[in-house]
């Protein structure tokens, strides 16, 4: 299989990547336009909801959360794979990550930003959201540090700021390249500013390595904790179906899973729109696909653990929720989730599909759909079939306002992501060079060894 050529010229790398900042394929503009439209739909739904009241979302007494929180978890989850690729695999010296980690990290940042929006969209009094921030204030009161929701807010803010920092720090050498190769204009000014005077001296490189490594180490526990905390929003409550000890690992696995699936999707899109065939090779894709397959199986296992734990427990209410999921109003979605989450990834087990781009594109979309359904199936059935039978409500269906905002969030994410890829180098130039260099060295070594053997 064709991988990055070891003899590729560094200048060519620069040129290829810089080209992505200039003229992507037409598809880029189509995607951008669609994203703006979708985002517009979301914004108008929010304006309507803000002015009229949360009721237009068709939420009600038992069903107080709805799609907003489900989609919130979905986006939080998606952020995890960026960290997996950029930080964890960095520490593990997996060099195949190098051409793709940049956009994965951007995905992390933007999906976190999207998730944050859902918190705002969800609260009843958006104009008072600052009450939940711990800052010294005139009223002399603090938020409630006992509330998982507050931990959530803090964890997400920390994770978001660290992710941005990590993305930015990792980009500094490339920004310097862009600065040096860009004609005069606002972008050059921007790169000059952001490159922070990078000159590529040894000392700079040494400090850069240490900083990058430190943030990477810092980010990993953070990533795990963020989704554990999101999981504790549920696990710490008393609602049946949520009050499960295995929720944190289950959430983290789900997060990595959906993130990897999203990376496959974006990989394919970027590869085409920015003509990155040279760098985003199929062999890298194959590795991600295998990783995704492994995580899918972990997720499937944890799912089974959760079902078994509920089924054999004495918690009748939780059991009732599980049965309701499988047989009640939400059954099509729940089985859809099982199908998309556990059956569809079996495609990845076949080597011939591991590099088949159309199949992978379709499959990864299905996986993401499955993971979104999973989040919805955590939220809705528990509310509709909770502890208190009198308030059961099996008929509640999210209104168009909710769907509009979910739709809009995809627009918002795509918009941010696409603009990022156009403005910043979405393939890490210096690391690709490193990779090529290391591979050349390796090649030379093995050639030398071969020769030595003769």
């Amino acid at each position: 299989m064709k991988d990055i050529r070891e003899d590729i010229a560094w200048v060519k790398i620069n040129q290829d990547v810089m080209k992505s900042l200039e003229n992507p394929r037409k598809l880029y503009w189509v995607i951008l336009f669609c994203a703006i439209c979708a985002f517009g739909v979301g914004v108008s739904c929010e304006i309507y909801q803000y002015r009229t009241g949360m009721g237009v979302a068709n939420l009600n007494n038992p069903q107080v959360w709805g799609l907003y929180i489900a989609t919130f978890i979905f986006w939080i989850g998606m952020s995890h794979s960026g960290t997996l690729l950029s930080a964890i695999l960095h520490l593990m010296h997996a060099d195949w990550r190098k051409p793709i980690y940049r956009f994965a990290e951007a995905m992390t940042t933007f999906s976190l930003m999207t998730a944050g929006l859902f918190v705002l969209v969800h609260i009843g009094r958006l104009w008072q959201f600052y009450y939940s921030l711990p800052y010294p204030n005139e009223r002399g009161i603090w938020p409630n540090f006992q509330s998982p929701l507050l931990w959530d807010a803090m964890a997400i803010f920390t994770y978001l700021s660290s992710s941005i920092l990590f993305l930015f720090v990792g980009m500094i050498p490339d920004l310097a390249i862009a600065r040096d190769n860009m004609a005069d204009g606002w972008r050059r000014k921007l790169y000059t500013l952001l490159a922070l005077g990078w000159e590529g001296t040894d000392r700079q490189w040494r400090n850069f390595r240490v900083t990058y490594l430190t943030i990477a180490c810092f980010l990993i526990p953070l990533a795990v904790s963020v989704h554990s905390i999101v999981a504790s929003d549920f696990a710490m409550s008393q609602a049946p179906g949520w009050h499960v000890t295995s929720f944190p690992p289950y959430f983290v696995a789900g997060a990595l899973y959906s993130g990897c699936a999203a990376i496959i999707t974006l990989f394919i899109i970027l590869r085409y729109t920015f003509r990155f065939e040279e760098y985003m090779t199929k062999s890298i894709l194959k590795k991600i696909v295998r990783l995704t397959f492994a995580i899918a199986m972990v997720w499937t296992y944890l799912n089974a653990v959760e079902f078994a734990a509920v089924w054999y427990s004495h918690d009748e209410a939780s059991k009732a929720v599980l049965i309701q999921k499988a047989t009640g109003t939400y059954a099509p979605f729940w089985w859809g989730m099982i199908f998309c989450g556990s059956v569809v990834p079996l495609v990845f087990a076949f080597e011939r599909f591991q590099t088949n781009i159309p199949v992978l594109f379709a499959t990864s979309l299905l996986l993401n759909l499955g993971m979104w359904l999973e989040r919805w199936m955590i939220i809705a059935p528990t509310f509709s079939h909770g502890l208190y039978p009198w308030t059961w409500d099996h008929d509640q269906w999210p209104s168009m306002v909710q769907w509009g905002m979910v739709f809009g969030s995809f627009g918002w994410f795509t918009l941010l992501f696409m603009i990022f890829c156009k403005v910043f180098p979405s393939v890490s130039m210096y690391e690709v060079k490193e990779m090529v260099y290391h591979r050349t060295l390796h090649l030379k070594k093995s050639e030398a060894a071969e020769q030595g053997a003769h």
Binding site: P62, Q146, G386, T391
Partner: protein, 284 residues
């Protein structure tokens, strides 16, 4: 507003069920509801609407499950598949149970719902940001969210109707959570009178709106730590203790002959409302 203030006063801000160093004194408001006397007539619920400025949401919003009744009367049937409901139905007035270790209190991100020194579960409308986490975590689902802006909704309170609003109770605007308060405005007024006279509130001096209207007197309300109060006597006679998640009387193998129980006691919210089981004649 200081960190030290936060650290020192934490237990006061987040006071949970009675602990030895802070017993309920001199008030602990509690209720007991005799289900055998309750006829399900809805007078209490309407009294609650009148007293607490609860919006009438109308048919369409009711259909969406957005009704606001702080006090709802639940009607249960026998579940043994009999052809006719020949043992009648069973009614249960359900409102905020004012839990001592309330699941809603711990999860609110802005501490808009707290425990008061009187053992009430307070809801502060102007602090609420509307995350609805409290409702999600309430086992009884007795918290109601303002899905719309009812005070400005002319279908709910047209100019004439708005003159009926009780000025002692805040009219809740959109985006905040609300629930039964045990008619805290009446409690405050009674306490203020008592305080001016240098005594505590006497038994019978204050009634909740539901209690006052109940034609069969099924609801009693009062100060649980006052040995004179009917509520205290009832809880004692029924051997229900507020700080237990399993009552001693229920541990007996043959079960108890007393009727007092609390709903979801085993989940340890320590509700302040005791129900007395409905009784049915065995001879017919």
């Amino acid at each position: 507003m200081s960190v030290s203030n936060l650290l020192e006063n934490w237990s006061q801000f987040r006071h949970t069920h009675p602990v030895d160093d802070k017993p309920h004194d001199p008030y602990k408001w509690a209720m007991s509801i005799d289900l055998d006397a309750c006829t399900g007539c809805n007078a209490c619920s309407i009294a609650c609407y009148a007293e607490n400025n609860i919006p009438v949401v109308g048919k369409e919003r009711f259909q969406h499950g957005q009704q606001m009744h702080w006090m709802r009367i639940e009607r249960y049937w026998d579940e043994d598949g009999r052809e006719f409901a020949d043992q009648g139905a069973q009614f249960l007035p359900m409102m905020c149970q004012q839990c001592e270790a309330a699941p809603c209190e711990t999860v609110c991100p802005v501490a808009a719902t707290n425990h008061t020194a009187d053992g009430l579960n307070s809801q502060v409308y102007n602090r609420c940001v509307g995350s609805r986490y409290c409702s999600a975590n309430c086992p009884f689902k007795v918290r109601y969210f303002n899905w719309y802006d009812y005070p400005t909704d002319d279908a709910v309170w047209p100019a004439e109707m708005s003159q009926q609003l009780n000025p002692d109770v805040t009219v809740r605007s959109k985006g905040v959570m609300e629930k039964c308060t045990f008619c805290v405005q009446r409690l405050t007024a009674a306490k203020s009178v008592a305080k001016s006279e240098g005594r505590i509130v006497r038994e019978g001096e204050v009634q909740t709106a539901c209690q006052q209207s109940c034609p069969t007197g099924a609801i009693s309300f009062g100060n649980l730590v006052n040995p004179e109060s009917r509520v205290h006597k009832q809880w004692q006679a029924q051997q229900v203790e507020i700080d237990k998640d399993k009552q001693t009387k229920d541990e007996k193998e043959e079960g108890s002959e007393l009727r007092g129980y609390r709903i979801f006691e085993d989940m340890r919210p320590y509700p302040s409302v005791m129900y007395l089981e409905r009784v049915r004649e065995s001879a017919v």
